[in-house]
Each structure stands twice: as structure tokens, then as C-alpha cells.
């Protein structure tokens, strides 16, 4: 059973075709990495799937339901949560408040304008669980803008997983991290994924991270999927090597 299926997903920005006929199928419980040189369309793919902007053409199915063209806030309700390439937080709120707002979104009565203390308590409880999973508990009451960059990246993941998603989309979780931070992030993510229920799509530049985490890799190049397979296949692929070398030369 495929939890996510994209059919000929295409996105134009004016004359630029950022995504062309992308077909992608992700199985339930799979950890999928999407890699590719800069400007290959990885983030565009993310944005088109989870409704930051509508795709120009093509369809997206999640759990058998057509989610094409839906707004970002509605897609979350189906069970897709994501992080962003550039850290995207509530800077002046504490770590626990950041996560509570995230987890509250999936609760009944998230909109209650009066009372609702049980909703708040449940949101906070979920936030605490997410904090534990990402080993951020000590930082719970600090304003999120005082955290190190690495911890902010983790906080964003904590916000996403506090929503108990079926599909977690991580846009470069180790972007801008030091070697040590990257290692600890990978360890934490491995821990998180060990249960195997969660489906993950991961955009990543750091190949070590990719080969450490991913079960399957899709390679994007100039908006097209040029390779798709398990890590060994992709590593050996001639097309991929060419694309990457070509990509860097262009840049």
C-alpha cells in the first residue's frame, strides 16, 4: 500500500519548469530521501505536495485520497506534517509553547475562544512527549530564539512529530549544522524512526545522513526524477554521478 503517490506532478514558475512530470510512490513506513543538486526542485516538490502552492499539473494522493490543490492547513489534517528548509519558528515563544501550538492543531477544540483548559493541557502533554523524544526537555522554558541553530532545527522536528503525523516531511534537517550536531541529529532521527510506523520523506544534501537514514532514494535533477532505488543502486548509478558533477560545474 502506497501512502503517498504523486502522478506527473508539475510546477511552473513563469517560464521556469521547476518540476516536470514527477512520479513518486512512497510506501507506508518507508524512509525516503529526495536528493539532487541545488535548484533541482526538491523544496518545490515538498511545497507542491503539502500545499504551500498548487501544482500546475498532476495529482497527489495521500492514503488513497486526492489532496491535489488543497491548502496547507487542510493537508495537515490528513496526517502530513513538515519542517522547512529555513528554520521557521515562533521566535519569542518558549520551546514548549512552540510545540504546544503545533500539537493543539490536531486536537478537538483547538479553536475554543473561551475556557478550553483541557485542550491546552493535552497539547502541553503532547509537547512534553515530543520534547522527550528529541531530547530537548531541558530547554522547554527558554524562548526559542535563544536556542542554538542545531536545537532550533530539532525543535522544528519536535513540532512536526507532536502532531502525530502519518507522513513526516523533513526539508534538510541538518542544514547548517556542525559535524557533531549532524551526528547527534542523525542519532535522534534514527531513534525516532526505529518503531517503523512513521513514513518519512527527507530532503538532504549531506550524503552521509542520507545513506544513514534512507531506505530508498529518489534523485531529482532539473525538475525530473532521474533515478529511484535503494541506496546501493543510486550510489552506483551513472546518471546520478553525471548529474551531480554536472550540477556542481554549473553552479
Amino acid at each position: 500500500m502506497h501512502i503517498l503517490e504523486c502522478q506527473k506532478l508539475t510546477k511552473h514558475f513563469g517560464a521556469l519548469e521547476a518540476l516536470s512530470d514527477v512520479d513518486m510512490k512512497v510506501r507506508k513506513g518507508e524512509v525516503r530521501a529526495v536528493i539532487g543538486p541545488n535548484g533541482a526542485g526538491k523544496s518545490t516538490l515538498f511545497n507542491a505536495i503539502n500545499g504551500v502552492f498548487p501544482a500546475t499539473r498532476g495529482k497527489c494522493f495521500f492514503n488513497g485520497k486526492d489532496i491535489t490543490g488543497m491548502m496547507m492547513q487542510d493537508i495537515v489534517k490528513f496526517g502530513i506534517s513538515r519542517t522547512f528548509q529555513l528554520t521557521n519558528l515562533f521566535p519569542e515563544l518558549s520551546v514548549i509553547e512552540n510545540i504546544s501550538i503545533a500539537s493543539q492543531a490536531k486536537l478537538k477544540g483547538a479553536w475554543l475562544p473561551l475556557g478550553g483548559s483541557s485542550v491546552l493541557a493535552e497539547a502541553k502533554h503532547k509537547a512534553e512527549l515530543a520534547l522527550e523524544k528529541l531530547k530537548l526537555t531541558d530547554l522547554a522554558y527558554l524562548p526559542s530564539n535563544t536556542l542554538s541553530h542545531g536545537d532550533q532545527r530539532l525543535l522544528e522536528i519536535a513540532m512536526a512529530i507532536s502532531q502525530d503525523p502519518l507522513l513526516l516531511m523533513l526539508d534538510e534537517p541538518t542544514q547548517g549544522l556542525s559535524v557533531e550536531e549532524t551526528q547527534s541529529t542523525v542519532d535522534i532521527l534514527k531513534d525516532l524512526l526505529s518503531s517503523g510506523d512513521l513514513t518519512v520523506i527527507l530532503v538532504e544534501h549531506d550524503m552521509e545522513v542520507v545513506f544513514n537514514l534512507a531506505e530508498r532514494i529518489s534523485v531529482l535533477h532539473q525538475g525530473r526524477i532521474i533515478a529511484d532505488g535503494d541506496p546501493e543502486e543510486v550510489k552506483a548509478s551513472k546518471v546520478v554521478q553525471d548529474a551531480y558533477l554536472g550540477g556542481f560545474e554549473d553552479a
Partner: protein, 321 residues
């Protein structure tokens, strides 16, 4: 606990005010409370959602004219008039705020200003109804229901305004501390992220704008039976700026701060206007000083000092609001 103690003290103090100040001064005290309520209503938008309305006078004017017309044409008892007028003004705000909250930042400010100006223009367009530039004089305070008439006296009216202010404050406080209020703080900090987390931010902004207009029109509705008239000045665009300054000087995002800001400015205006014609100059100076040196406002200074003197960091997160 500390909050209720403070609130209780403030209420007790307010109840005693008519016994402490001369009778004529009550006029200005009532105005101060009405403006405190008006400034607090704007804080829901400015302080909690960071939506800068430049047309909040629309809520005030609509409330004021609604209650004036209800009393003039139907002679409805004052407390009922105030509820009805607030309801009517809020209903008018529903479509207007729907349009305004489709936008962000400067466009939001400009749209709210435009709608307020539209209201102002309509006062002159429908002269027979609104009295045009003469306004509507001769607003009384009809007695009832159930033979109630304590609010016909100035002191009685003061207590009624006080009751409305306290009730509004408690409701607003409940709103900003509710799940809904948490989402507002998300919108304030990062609207796009809030949407990405699964909230329909437009509806949240719409609803808080309606709430803000509702309490704003309540303050307007309280004004006319107190002043005895409604005039186009109650719809004048400068008021939107004045009330915004009250919110910022009082301390935005605290509810209590803007109430203090509103009261402070009305009393200041009263004192200064007796001394000099140039009192708006002092107004401006105070505003600039606060923006430069105390951006957290009067209430912000107060809470900072009380936190420092207590030096108990574990409690500090809980203390305010």
C-alpha cells in the same frame, strides 16, 4: 492567585473613587474608563495578533451612533440599549472585518482606515438619520428594565461602566488564554508557520477582529448615554491614532496595560488642556519617550520591576496576563 488579589484591590479602589474625588471630576473619570475599555479592545488586534488597525474608531463610532439612535427613536432602557447597540455594531463589523483580515500589514491598516473613513462620510451623506455635522444631541438615559434607574445618576452610570469594563476585561483575558488565544500568539509570531501547522489563520484573524470591534463598539455605546450626544467627532480618524498610542504606551499584549494607557491619557489630556492649548505636543512627547525608552509600556515597566523585586524566575512566566 496574585492576579485575583490585584484585580480585587483595583476593583475595590474603583468602587471607592466616587467617595474620594469631587462630583464634577466623575465626568472625566467615566470618560477615562470608557477609553480604557476602548484601548483594551484594540489590544486584541494589536498586542495579541499584531494586526495594526488604523480604523478602530469605526467600532467606537458605530457603537456610539447605534446607542444614540436606539435611545432617540425607541427610548429603550440604557443597559438594553448598550447590549443592542453593541450587537448591531458588531453585525456591521462582520463583513467589514472579513474583508480587512484577508490582508496583512500595511494593507490591513489602510483598509481599516478606509472603512472608518467610509463610515465618517456616511454620517454626512445620511443627514436626516445621523444629524450630519450637528450630530445627535439630547440623548437621555432611559430608565428600566425592572424599574432600574441607578444609572441615571452620574455615580450610578460610573458603576455601570465599571461593571462593563471589568466583565469585558475578564472575557478578553479568557480569550487570550484560551486555545484560540494561543493560536493568535502563533499568528503574531509567524503567520505562515501557523498556517503550515494546520490552522485556518484567516478565520482566526477574522474572529479576533470581530471580538475587537465588539468591545470597541461597547465602549462607543457606553459613551453616548454618558455624554448626551453623538457627533461626527466620534468617527474622526485621529481617534484611531490616539487609541493606538494608548495601547502602545500602556503596554500592548497585556490587556491591563491599554486600560491603564487609556485612563492615563484621558487624565493627562484633562490636566494639560487646562494649562495649555499645546497639550497634543505633550501627548506626542510622551509617546515618543515610551517608544524609545520603554517599548514595553507602562504595564511592562510595572511587571519588570515587580519581577526583579521578587527575583523568583520560576514564577515569572506565570505572573503576567
Amino acid at each position: 492567585m496574585r492576579f485575583w488579589l490585584l484585580l480585587g484591590t483595583a476593583i475595590l479602589f474603583s468602587i471607592c473613587i466616587p467617595f474620594m474625588v469631587p462630583y464634577y471630576a466623575m465626568t472625566i473619570v467615566i470618560a477615562a474608563l470608557i477609553w480604557g475599555l476602548f484601548a483594551m479592545s484594540l489590544d486584541l488586534l494589536v498586542g495579541y495578533t499584531r494586526l495594526y488597525s488604523f480604523g478602530h474608531v469605526a467600532s467606537y463610532g458605530l457603537g456610539a451612533y447605534s446607542s444614540a439612535l436606539l435611545i432617540l427613536h425607541f427610548d429603550i432602557p440604557v443597559p438594553i440599549t448598550i447590549f443592542l447597540a453593541t450587537g448591531i455594531a458588531t453585525l456591521i463589523a462582520v463583513p467589514i472585518t472579513w474583508i480587512c483580515t484577508r490582508t496583512h500589514g500595511v494593507s490591513f491598516a489602510m483598509l481599516t482606515l478606509a472603512f472608518a473613513q467610509l463610515g465618517y462620510a456616511m454620517l454626512f451623506r445620511f443627514k436626516e438619520f445621523t444629524g450630519g455635522s450637528n450630530g445627535l444631541p439630547g440623548i437621555t438615559r432611559p430608565a428600566g428594565p425592572f424599574g432600574l434607574d441607578f444609572f441615571q445618576s452620574k455615580i450610578g452610570y460610573y458603576y455601570m461602566v465599571l461593571a462593563f469594563l471589568i466583565a469585558s476585561f475578564l472575557i478578553c483575558r479568557n480569550i487570550v488564554n484560551s486555545p484560540f488565544g494561543k493560536v493568535l500568539s502563533g499568528i503574531r509570531e509567524n503567520e505562515m508557520k501557523t498556517q503550515a501547522l494546520g490552522y485556518n489563520v484567516r478565520n482566526y484573524k477574522w474572529f479576533v477582529a470581530i471580538m475587537s470591534y465588539m468591545f470597541g463598539s461597547l465602549s462607543g455605546a457606553l459613551f453616548t448615554p454618558y455624554a448626551g450626544f453623538a457627533s461626527p467627532e466620534l468617527f474622526f480618524w485621529l481617534i484611531s491614532g490616539t487609541v493606538l498610542i494608548m495601547v502602545i504606551v500602556g503596554g500592548s499584549g497585556t490587556l491591563i496595560g491599554p486600560i491603564i494607557g487609556g485612563i492615563f491619557f484621558i487624565l493627562l489630556e484633562h490636566e494639560l488642556s487646562e494649562i495649555t492649548q499645546l497639550w497634543p505636543l505633550a501627548f506626542g512627547t510622551v509617546f515618543i519617550m515610551f517608544v524609545l525608552f520603554f517599548p514595553q509600556g507602562i504595564w511592562g515597566i510595572f511587571t519588570t520591576i515587580s519581577k526583579k523585586s521578587k527575583s523568583n524566575p520560576s514564577e515569572s512566566g506565570h505572573a503576567h496576563s
